[in-house]
């Protein structure tokens, strides 16, 4: 309600007539304002541009401007789903079965996707064969996010649309119909039935089409021999689990020999069960992974290996071996006897690139009726011979080829006569190269088809007779790319997708009534077992083969080319994980090098030296093979390298389409003449030293037998565990008790809830390193580059230590150390330890995976001033990154040296321009694991994100966790089950039983750290043969 109050200024207002009152009534202001003081000089005031209103406008505007400027927020590039796919739940991973088949590697895998992004490769446990992803396959997911990959089709180096490309190709093909020139499709030797069908379909339209397949690293001899004996194309397959004696003539079957992935079956019979394990003898030139795992390794050059094979054959035929050099003869007589006694339980494999050798091998296995030998269902992983390529080049030169379609392969780089191929390409005139990223061949092509990654593609494969696999895309094409098969479909005028094509082909020819979806889900499909082939071995052929082998001689040095575990044929060279992956044997990353025996190195005056900061330097040599020479090849002195041989890895030295950091090593393909891995070579020393990036600077075990405990099968069977698995004891009240049982304090109750342990079987670990990359991918471990690796700052959470014996065996090392007496003299420890530092010429090799041991009495935990690392109730040794202030005391006090420090900021830092420095590359990061900042310590976490996931899933479903659900990245990646992870409080879990094994021991048990990782004593089957 309105008020009628009146307010009085003073009581004088009561007097109406008062002057002042009336005056005040009419004047707002008591006295006149001094307006003129600031408004005087009217003129200038009028002339001024800014009126009061303008001024207010300015104020208003500037305020608004300031406010707006303040409002700018960070820009987030994110696009919402238009239709939310119901299988994608944020935070929940999906797994898809698929297959990698890139012409070199082959594996059935599971792909883990998060929010639609593939981020990790896992083994496909539904695949009976090829189910194990090796290091390269594990790393292949990162290539999907390679910022150097082609992002659209090119014509003469400039972007074009697919239509222009298609029309151009069609036009050309039509033209060829008249000119009668050939249109050649050149691809890696494919095992894909659909691909072959597709090419035939194309043929039907363009009769001139021809398919040439090309193995970058060939197994031509083996193929030829198999063909001669069994009249079929293929490679005899082997199941080593069925063999008690494995005799390998330079076959690196734990490596990439004939497509690899033999580790699982090999290891199956390497773990002593009821006092029984296989005996493995390896004759080889380079120190290979296989040789490193052999019970007996005989370093020989290829000629000697051939003679040895001949000798064995002879011996098996009952003739006494009269071999020129007695050592081989001696071995072979003994081995022959052994093979005869074991009979079908023995197997002989051969990696010598020589048809005769392969023939004899097949013959011997047939003669032994070896169970492990399986010619009935041969492998198709390699199918090309060197001659095919020479033929093609000849055709191209002669002008017979009017159009060349190159699918994925890069012959200009990977052919010894790549230059010739390049010229020939010019003659063809019309070349279409399908490439994933720019390469030497694509550069010269008239059109470049931007190829999709295999994780974006459909495909199928038949790696082995009656064994099929499927490849399905797990993500849409990231860029405007197209898999080559789609192109072929388009060009053959078909309108349906390659998916339809495969499905059609499978339902018609493969599935035989079985469900397509099931096949896709499993990723594998097995048809009925094939009937066995009967061998037709021509005796005379064998005789001649034997004769030629028996007289094999080698003049001068032999160069033995090989493929590295980390690089393979080199098509993944732009993958930082693989570049930084330390070679299992040399432990050197970011390089290939000429491996040479110590004796030869001294003869040539070649050196390996460690500089002040420990970094390894090697001399340079010039390698010359019939005319072609590669200069500045760094030399690595390799224990176990056969005298008179040198080794060099293929797959390095690529330049085109590679980030500068990745352009490492030298290109050994230049001397890979006619696909033969052995070449006559001359080497000469060059000036300068090469700087290696080697993560293990000390090669030997220094006679520290308690770090890698090992014993012979015989002792293992006959003697009590206390003798070959001694536990450290301490004296408690004058009683000797196991050190682990004595404790200064009352200990925590660890029997409640889960308690995680990791078991590592040194017999099962082949050192393949798949776990290293798996750990890399799972835990967002940064790549630090060659410079940092060189100064021993590798970030690997999981490493595989490789030790050489200094004497002929580790046992001898220990004995030698025990024999030390006093400081000086013959047996003095002063000189003695020095001699233990250099490895033997043909050493025993031992691999030991080491990650954080998650000690219950962790030395690292007690010393952290801010309690950034402490123990969990489940046995983890936690690392709280955001609490860490980086004193590095923990790393110093770790007896296992498994803690890794972020010396710099490794992400989004141009100094470290790897996948973590670009948006594309960061897509591979695991969202469950944070990326560590600069200045904090990091280390293995027992993949706590995985164990927590398993626990929560079980909780959500209201059930107990199943044993198999507990996995770490490494244990899941380990195809040979060397690493077994689980809950030891669950008494019937596998790991709990393994912990009870009498082979179980803890690393450095005497330090009293009580680790939650335990190892199994390595058993060597050395007594036999």
């Amino acid at each position: 309600m309105a008020s009628h109050k009146t307010y009085w200024k003073s009581e004088t207002e009561l007097f109406e007539k008062d002057q002042a009152v009336s005056h005040l009534k009419h004047n707002e202001f008591a006295e006149t304002l001094p307006v003129n003081d600031f408004l005087e000089d009217e003129a200038s005031l009028q002339s001024s541009e800014t009126s009061r209103r303008d001024f207010l406008k300015f104020v208003g505007f500037s305020t608004a401007a300031v406010t707006l400027a303040a409002c700018e927020g960070p820009v987030k590039k994110s696009i919402p789903y238009v239709i939310q796919p119901d299988e994608i739940v944020p935070g929940v991973a999906n797994y898809y079965a698929t297959t990698i088949s890139d012409g070199f590697d082959f594996a059935s895998i599971l792909v883990k996707t998060r929010e639609g992004r593939p981020i990790k490769i896992e083994n496909n446990d539904r695949a009976r064969l090829f189910g194990g992803a090796n290091a390269r396959v594990q790393a292949s997911v990162l290539n999907l996010y390679d910022k150097f990959r082609l992002q659209g089709p090119l014509a003469a180096g400039v972007d074009v649309s697919w239509d222009t490309l298609d029309t151009a190709v069609k036009a050309r093909l039509d033209a060829l119909l008249s000119t009668g020139q050939k249109a050649v499709v050149l691809s890696a030797s494919t095992t894909s039935p659909s691909y072959k069908a597709l090419v035939t379909q194309l043929k039907e339209i363009y009769a001139s089409v021809e398919h040439v397949s090309y193995d970058v690293v060939s197994s031509g001899a083996a193929l030829e021999a198999f063909g001669q004996v069994y009249g079929e194309s293929g490679l005899a397959d082997y199941d080593f689990s069925k063999a008690d004696v494995i005799l390998s003539f330079d076959a690196d079957f734990l490596g990439d020999w004939q497509g690899g992935s033999y580790a699982k079956s090999y290891v199956a019979n390497r773990i002593p069960k009821h006092g029984h394990m296989s005996h493995h003898v390896q004759l080889e030139s380079n120190m290979t992974l296989t040789g490193a795992n052999a019970d007996k390794r005989i370093p020989l050059n290829t000629a000697e290996i051939k003679r040895a094979l001949a000798a064995l054959y002879k011996a098996l035929n009952g003739e006494a071996v009269s071999e020129s050099d007695s050592s081989i003869a001696g071995h072979m007589n003994a081995l022959a006897d052994k093979l005869r006694t074991v009979g079908s339980k023995a197997v002989v494999v051969c990696g010598v690139e020589d048809v005769n050798a392969q023939l004899l091998t097949l013959a011997i296995n047939e003669y032994l009726k070896s169970d492990a030998f399986d010619p009935a269902a041969p492998r198709n992983l390699r199918s090309s011979t060197a001659s095919a390529m020479d033929q093609l080049i000849a055709d191209m030169d002669s002008g017979a080829v009017g159009a060349l379609f190159i699918d994925k392969v890069n012959p200009v780089y990977s052919l010894a006569n790549g230059a010739a191929f390049a010229e020939a390409m010019q003659k063809v005139g019309f070349t279409v190269c399908s490439a994933f990223s720019m390469n030497e061949t694509a550069e010269l092509a008239s059109f470049v088809v931007a190829n999709s990654h295999y994780l974006e593609s459909w495909a199928d494969a038949q790696p082995k007779k009656s064994y099929y696999t499927l490849t399905q895309p797990v993500i849409r094409n990231l860029f405007d790319t197209r898999q080559f098969e789609e192109c072929l479909l388009k060009w053959s005028g078909s309108s349906d997708t390659y998916h339809d094509f495969i499905k059609g082909h499978w339902t018609a020819n493969v599935l035989g009534g079985n469900a397509w979806n099931k096949a896709v889900q499993d990723g594998v499909f097995e048809a009925a077992a094939p009937k066995s082939l009967d061998a037709r071995i021509d005796e005379t052929l064998l005789q001649s083969a034997h004769r030629s082998l028996a007289v094999a001689q080698s003049e001068g040095m032999e160069l033995v080319l090989y493929t590295k575990t980390g690089m393979g044929d080199g098509q993944m060279a732009n993958n930082p994980w693989l570049q930084e992956f330390p070679d299992p044997i040399s432990r050197t990353s970011w390089d290939n090098y000429l491996t040479i025996s110590k004796a030869d190195a001294e003869a040539y005056g070649l050196k390996n030296v460690n500089v002040a900061n420990g970094g390894l330097d090697g001399s340079y040599v010039k390698v010359t093979v019939n005319g072609t020479s590669i200069s500045n090849v760094p030399v690595m002195i390799q224990p176990g390298q056969a005298k008179g041989t040198v080794g060099l890895a293929l797959g390095y030295g690529r330049k085109v389409g590679l980030q500068s950091e990745m352009q490492t090593g030298v290109n050994a393909y230049k001397v890979y003449f006619n696909g033969s891995k052995v070449q006559e070579v001359t080497i000469e020393k060059q000036s300068g030293m090469h700087e290696f990036a080697c993560v293990q600077l000390h090669k030997t075990l220094m006679g520290r037998g308690d770090i890698i405990k090992e014993t012979t099968l015989e002792d293992f069977i006959t003697k009590p565990a206390s003798e070959w698995n001694e536990v450290p004891v301490v004296s408690l009240d004058h009683q000797e008790v196991p050190a682990s049982t004595v404790d200064l304090w009352e200990s925590f109750d660890r029997s409640v809830g889960h308690h995680f342990n990791l078991s590592i079987d040194l017999n099962a670990c082949t050192g393949c390193g798949a776990c290293v990359i798996a750990c890399h991918a799972e835990n967002n471990v940064p790549v630090v580059g060659k410079k940092e690796i060189r100064v021993s700052r590798d970030m690997h959470w999981l490493r595989i230590d490789r030790y050489y014996s200094s004497e002929e065996s580790f046992a001898a090392d220990d004995a030698k150390k025990e024999s030390f007496d006093g400081l000086f003299g013959e047996t003095g420890s002063l000189g003695g330890f020095g001699t233990l530092e250099d490895p033997s010429a043909n050493p025993q090799v031992a691999f030991q995976p080491v990650m954080c041991q998650h000690c219950n009495h962790a030395p690292c935990e007690t010393v952290c001033p801010v309690a950034a690392t402490s123990h969990s109730r489940q046995g983890h040794n936690h690392m709280a990154y955001n609490r860490c202030i980086g004193t590095r005391y923990c790393a110093n006090n770790c007896p296992y040296k498994v803690r890794r420090f972020n010396w710099f900021r490794y992400n989004q830092n141009d100094e470290f321009d790897f996948h973590m420095n670009n948006d594309l590359g960061r897509m591979v990061l695991n969202p469950d694991v944070n990326v560590r900042s600069r200045g904090v310590m990091e280390k293995c976490s027992f993949c706590i994100q995985r164990t927590q996931k398993a626990i929560l899933d079980a909780k959500a479903e209201g059930r107990a966790v199943k044993d198999a659900e507990f996995q770490t990245a490494c244990s899941a990646a380990c195809d040979t089950e060397a690493l077994v992870f689980g809950d030891v409080n669950d008494k019937d879990s596998e790991v709990a039983q393994l912990k009870e094994s009498e082979r179980m021991y803890h690393l450095l048990e005497n330090v009293g750290t009580q680790p939650n990782v335990f190892y199994h004593v390595k058993i060597r089957n050395t007594e036999k043969a």
């Binding site: 002040a612 900061n613 420990g614 293990q696 600077l697 000390h698 030997t700 075990l701 220094m702 520290r704 770090i707 940092e788 100064v791 021993s792 700052r793 590798d794 490493r799 230590d801 030790y803 150390k817 420890s829 002063l830 330890f833 030991q848 080491v850 030395p859 007690t862 010393v863 952290c864 001033p865 801010v866 309690a867 609490r883 860490c884 202030i885 980086g886 004193t887 590095r888 005391y889 790393a891 110093n892 006090n893 007896p895 296992y896 040296k897 803690r899 420090f901 972020n902 010396w903 710099f904 900021r905 900042s933 600069r934 200045g935 904090v936 310590m937 450095l1004 005497n1006 330090v1007 750290t1009």
Partner: protein, 489 residues
């Protein structure tokens, strides 16, 4: 006078027949006078080194610890070596002023002031390293048990590194108050002499208005005594705790029960050497030969000789125990020290720390100023190597041969070390120009017992004083407490 008695065989500690006012004048001179040329030159060099080190530190903190020469196996090298080295040097001061006070060693009075200054300045250097060696130094305050928003997020009192935090900060702050309390009467002396108004202001500010009442003196002496009593175990505890950083670990060569006494002896050893280094220069530069006499230097040399021999015993004991333990890792660790890739460092340490002090058995050598100076430098080099040997050679080859590496410093490592030396001398040079470098009040109190002219008088059986001629009578005005001398007639 009984209170002034001193055995006549004791050599005078103050020469040049000083009177009380002489003492004041001599000690106030450097403060009141202007700096000479040499001072400016030395100061310039020190400042340059300091700035260079500062640059190196800024570079490290902005880029990452990776700019040092460390690696996955050797995670500490020069940083902690320098830390322990500086802490060790920081032991002499408090030891001299505290332990020698308890033992009533009068000779300490001439040197304790500078020794304590040295202590404080070197502990400041030492304190730098634990902070800058962190991967994330901006979070250094996390080592303090500060209540925080995470509630129960605390420090780890099991960690020797945390014990260091408490030990070093206690040591630094207690030394500081000990030093400052002793400085009050001397500041007051300068204050009351000062003519320049700024000096007057400054010194009356930092002398906390010291007046010298008899009650104050009584408390003063009591406080000094109790502080000495507290500082003595403190100084021994500090290096003991520093040695725990290594002794409580599991690394062969670190895991050693002998470390505490061994480190303390080494600390006193290097501390006295540094005192010698500084005082031999200072007595010349500031002209205090009458107060810091050859006898002082000789006495310190004797301490150096003894502690050096103790350290030597420790080295030998380590080797013996390693052999006797029968633990192969221990044995190899020490074998590797003496014969491994870093043997040169080991033998540098041995010759500098064990052999060189033995020269001090000869009186001619230990009374020779130049030689003492030379040895003091050698000893400090040796002690730096001792810490380098303990840290780097133990780490670079520990349990698993697969992790064995080498270490070599980068220019940043070196730059930071040089920088701290520069910083140290900057502080010390400033101190020598602004502080009374000798505890003049205390010196005056021993003048009659240990001053040469008084000793002479006592020899002759004469009294130590002569009655002045009858004094005069004046008046003072109560208003302002200053005298207005109008003599009566």
């Amino acid at each position: 006078m009984a209170s002034h008695y001193e055995a006549s065989i004791r050599k005078p500690l103050v020469t040049g027949s000083k009177s009380y006012s002489d003492v004041s004048n001599d000690i106030a001179r450097p403060v009141e006078g202007r700096a000479n040329k040499q001072w400016w030159i030395v100061f310039g060099i020190a400042l340059a080194a300091f700035l260079w080190g500062l640059g190196a530190i800024i570079y490290t903190i902005s880029t990452g610890i990776g700019v040092w020469g460390l690696n996955k196996t050797v995670n500490w090298a020069w940083d902690i070596t320098n830390f322990v080295w500086w802490v060790g040097i920081g032991h002499a001061g408090t030891l001299i002023s505290a332990v020698l006070l308890l033992f009533r060693q009068k000779w300490r009075m001439a040197i304790n002031r500078s020794a304590e200054a040295m202590t404080i300045f070197s502990v400041i250097q030492a304190g730098l390293f634990p902070i800058i060696h962190m991967g994330r130094p901006w979070l250094a305050f996390w080592v303090l048990p500060i209540p925080n928003q995470y509630g129960s997020l605390w420090v780890n009192f099991n960690s020797p590194l945390l014990w260091d935090v408490f030990a070093i900060s206690t040591y630094l702050s207690v030394s500081l108050v000990f030093w400052w309390t002793g400085l009050l009467p001397d500041f007051a002396m300068i204050r009351d002499r000062a003519i320049k108004p700024f000096q007057k202001k400054l010194y009356s500010l930092i002398s906390f208005g010291w007046t010298g009442r008899s009650k104050d003196w009584q408390r003063f002496e009591e406080v000094s005594l109790v502080l000495a009593g507290l500082a003595t175990p403190l100084v021994l505890s500090v290096h003991t705790i520093v040695s725990f950083d290594f002794a409580t670990s599991v690394i062969p060569g670190w895991h050693t029960t002998i470390f505490p006494p061994y480190f303390v002896a080494g600390a006193i050893f290097s501390g006295f050497a540094m005192v010698n280094t500084l005082l031999i220069i200072m007595r010349k530069v500031v002209g205090l030969e009458d107060y810091i006499t050859v006898q002082h230097i000789e006495l310190m040399n004797i301490v150096i000789m003894i502690t050096g021999s103790i350290v030597g015993c420790a080295y030998i004991t380590e080797l013996f125990i390693a052999w006797y333990s029968g633990v192969e890792y221990e044995q190899y660790a020490f074998l590797n020290r003496a014969t491994g890739p870093y043997a040169w460092a080991y033998w540098a340490m041995m010759s500098c720390n064990v052999f060189s002090p033995q020269f001090m058995w000869f009186k001619r050598l230990r009374t020779s100023i130049m030689f003492s100076f030379f040895i003091s430098i050698v000893v400090n080099i040796g002690m730096w190597f001792e810490r380098f040997v303990i840290i780097v050679t133990s780490l670079h080859r520990d349990y698993l041969p697969s992790s064995w590496t080498m270490f070599s410093p980068t220019f940043v490592d070196i730059g930071i070390f040089i920088g701290t030396i520069g910083f140290f001398f900057v502080l010390f040079l400033l101190y020598s120009r602004t502080f009374p470098v000798i505890a003049q009040a205390e010196v005056k109190s021993i003048l009659k017992s240990s001053g040469d002219q008084y000793k002479a008088l006592r020899e002759e059986g004469k009294p130590l004083y002569t009655m002045p001629k009858r004094g005069k009578v004046t008046t003072y005005s109560i208003e302002e407490n200053s005298t207005t001398n109008q003599t009566h007639s």
